[in-house]
């Protein structure tokens, strides 16, 4: 009941006009970038970070969550009408959604995606509401050894779950850790890998790297791939997008299962909304009486992955808010933003900043409501966005990124850093190295180093501290099991 009381307090924060406006702008921007292929929520949040520094942290976080959420909704539109996912988490939706559109049922496909996302997203927020405070209470018992081993487990999970090539995932993580140690070592005062550059003494700033790796590198990638497609014509009026009773009947379990799978997969570091949508699609196909319908326009094939990707976006907030460990590139960028605001997500956040935490949680209900309304009533407006020429859109992203990065420190050095990160991100993309582990490791690298040092200080230099404390030992065992299973599976 305590959670309900706190949630009511949270609603009082969420419905304050600046926060309501932030939610509305966030879901709108998220929906737009979800519709536009080539720009993702991670890059958008990274590019908008400098703009949000003038807001209060609650409004900024509400806006970020709205963008993350909105992008999951928006990605569906291009998947269904163009067979081109606006977001990677909508890839599975193209399989049946586009087939439905070709059969003249684009409206119900978009409608069930919106309603399914709303139901699963709302159930996810309910789960988050009850689970997060409990997890935060457990996390209060975490000391440096627990944090160190948890971070090692998180990095291993990210490598394990991101992409198909684990060696490349490991390289990406290690590059992120390498970047994280650049700058003056806080304990000894020794500069590390600064190459005589005074501006690097305080370390590699996170935001320019994130903007370069995601925003600018994505522009370069979409230039190379020359993405384009033909829009399927469809009845997108209010009546046209409402699913029929038969559609609801066919989709009801897919929505619930998708929501459940999505939420729990979303909690895992590295898994994210894309993995959640894939797993839920596969599960739905396995549960289906006629699995051969999948890929030919089965509405459950739209309902399940779309419900899952929204629930996963909520699930990803659990580790971010409770233990301060982001599970994806987008939540890593949110964490970076919160640190700039002087907020450190983790168990103490629930005690010290309840208005912030519960305001953000309550805003998720508000965002969900706004999004379902937008997606049922205003789909034609978003479809019109697909007519914005790429020749105007991509340069606009570059210009916004350049000014945004400059505004961080009023310095061109950061812009050069972002351009260098863009070049690295482009090469990584071409070579199949995932960028998300690099960003996660860059954000959390210093915490890992500090935790290891503090642990060894506590234990007077003996590594036994990592195996004698039960939670730390459990995290280590899980890491070893993960690495071993990964190696065994590759040999099999």
């Amino acid at each position: 009941m305590d959670a309900l009381r706190l949630l009511i307090d949270g609603f009082a924060v969420a419905v304050q006009p600046p926060n309501l406006l932030a939610a509305a702008i966030g879901v709108m921007v998220g929906q737009i970038i979800g519709v536009l292929p080539g720009i993702g929520p991670a890059s958008t949040i990274a590019i908008l970070l400098p703009v949000t520094f003038s807001l209060n942290p609650t409004a900024a976080m509400i806006m970020f969550v709205g963008i993350y959420y909105g992008a999951q909704y928006g990605g569906t539109i291009t998947s269904v009408l163009l067979s081109m996912p606006g977001e990677s988490s909508s890839i599975m939706t193209t399989l049946d959604g586009y087939q439905m559109a070709l059969q003249g049922r684009a409206g119900p496909a978009l409608g069930i995606a919106a309603f399914g996302s709303f139901i699963a997203g709302t159930l996810g927020v309910v789960a988050l509401m009850f689970m997060a405070p409990a997890l935060a209470t457990v996390a209060l018992a975490f000391g440096p050894p627990e944090y160190a081993t948890l971070l090692v487990l998180s990095f291993s999970l990210v490598v394990y779950l991101t992409g198909r090539d684990r060696a490349k995932g490991a390289v990406s993580t290690l590059l992120g850790l390498w970047l994280a140690v650049v700058g003056v070592d806080l304990i000894s005062g020794l500069p590390r890998f600064t190459f005589g550059q005074l501006k690097l003494l305080s370390g590699i700033p996170f935001v320019p790297v994130a903007i370069g790796l995601f925003g600018l590198a994505e522009v370069l990638a979409s230039v190379r791939e020359g993405r384009a497609g033909d829009l399927v014509r469809a009845d997108l009026s209010l009546r046209g997008v409402l699913p029929t009773a038969a559609d609801w009947l066919a989709s009801r379990w897919a929505i619930l299962r998708g929501g459940l799978i999505g939420f729990f997969v979303g909690i895992l570091p590295g898994a994210g909304a894309t993995a959640a949508s894939m797993i839920s699609y596969a599960a739905e196909k396995r549960f289906a009486r006629q699995p051969e319908r999948f890929g030919r326009g089965a509405i459950e094939g739209v309902a399940a992955p779309e419900s899952a990707n929204n629930a996963a976006a909520v699930g990803a907030m659990v580790p971010l808010l409770t233990i301060g460990v982001p599970g994806s590139a987008t939540t890593a960028i949110m964490l970076g933003g919160l640190l700039v605001f002087g907020l450190r997500p983790g168990p103490l956040l629930f005690q010290q900043q309840p208005q912030f935490v519960w305001g953000v949680i309550a805003s998720m209900y508000v965002s969900n409501l706004l999004l379902v309304a937008l997606n049922v009533a205003a789909i034609p407006a978003f479809v019109a966005l697909l007519r914005v020429p790429r020749a105007v859109l991509l340069p606009s992203v570059v210009a916004l990124a350049v000014v945004g990065v400059y505004s961080l420190e009023n310095n061109v050095f950061e812009v050069w850093l972002a351009l260098a990160a863009a070049a690295i991100g482009y090469v990584m993309n071409r070579q199949g190295y995932p960028a998300a582990p690099l960003v996660l490791a860059l954000v959390l690298g210093k915490t890992l180093e500090e935790s290891v040092r503090q642990s060894l200080l506590l234990s007077r230099g003996t590594l036994a501290i990592f195996v004698t404390r039960p939670l730390a030992a459990a995290f280590l065992v899980a890491t070893v099991a993960l690495v071993a299973s990964s190696m065994l599976r590759r040999r099999a």
């Binding site: 400098p50 703009v51 520094f53 003038s54 198909r164 090539d165 060696a167 490349k168 490991a170 390289v171 290690l174 590059l175 850790l177 390498w178 140690v181 070592d185 304990i187 000894s188 020794l190 590390r192 890998f193 522009v219 370069l220 230039v223 190379r224 791939e225 020359g226 020429p389 790429r390 020749a391 105007v392 991509l394 340069p395 606009s396 570059v398 210009a399 916004l400 350049v402 000014v403 945004g404 400059y406 505004s407 009023n410 061109v412 812009v415 050069w416 351009l419 070049a423 090469v427 071409r430 070579q431 199949g432 190295y433 180093e449 290891v452 040092r453 060894l456 200080l457 007077r460 230099g461």
Partner: protein, 149 residues
């Protein structure tokens, strides 16, 4: 290992060797706690192992080796995009941010195949919008050129 993986893996191996060598010059342990060289040393070792794993493995999955297809003319577009962006950033402090954005946007819209009309419109409207957002609203002191903006 796909042949295209090799150059990057070799560069990573060199970076790993450099990191380990640099870490050895820092102190590995200070008393009983890790020194500034502790983390770089293990990061270097990890990078060496991971890049060696990429270097020595055999190709097992043809799909993994396949490079995603590039759109026609994309290489020249990429080079031109990079050149215009680098030039605009290099000139931002001399010409002023707004003038640099005009060059950047006008150039990029044309490079991406937009008409002269869209290039001109984008190069005027967007810098103005960004100036209002950053220069006025957020009070960011954007670099000014010889013409005062």
């Amino acid at each position: 290992m796909p042949a295209r993986d090799r150059p990057v893996a070799l560069i990573l191996l060199l970076l790993a060797a450099y990191t380990i060598a640099a870490a050895r010059d820092m102190s590995y342990m200070q008393g009983r706690t890790p020194g500034p060289g502790f983390a770089p040393f293990w990061i270097g070792v990890g990078l060496a192992v991971a890049s060696l794993a990429i270097l020595i493995r055999r190709p097992t999955d043809p799909a993994r080796a396949a490079d995603p297809p590039a759109a026609a003319g994309s290489t020249s577009t990429l080079i031109a995009t990079t050149a215009v962006t680098v030039m605009a950033v290099a000139l931002a402090e001399r010409l002023g941010m707004i003038a640099a954005l005009v060059l950047l946007l006008g150039g990029l819209v044309r490079i991406f195949g937009g008409s002269w009309r869209s290039a001109a419109l984008t190069a005027v409207i967007l810098p103005l919008g960004l100036y209002i957002l950053f220069g006025r609203w957020l009070q960011v002191p954007l670099p000014r050129g010889p013409w005062g903006f």
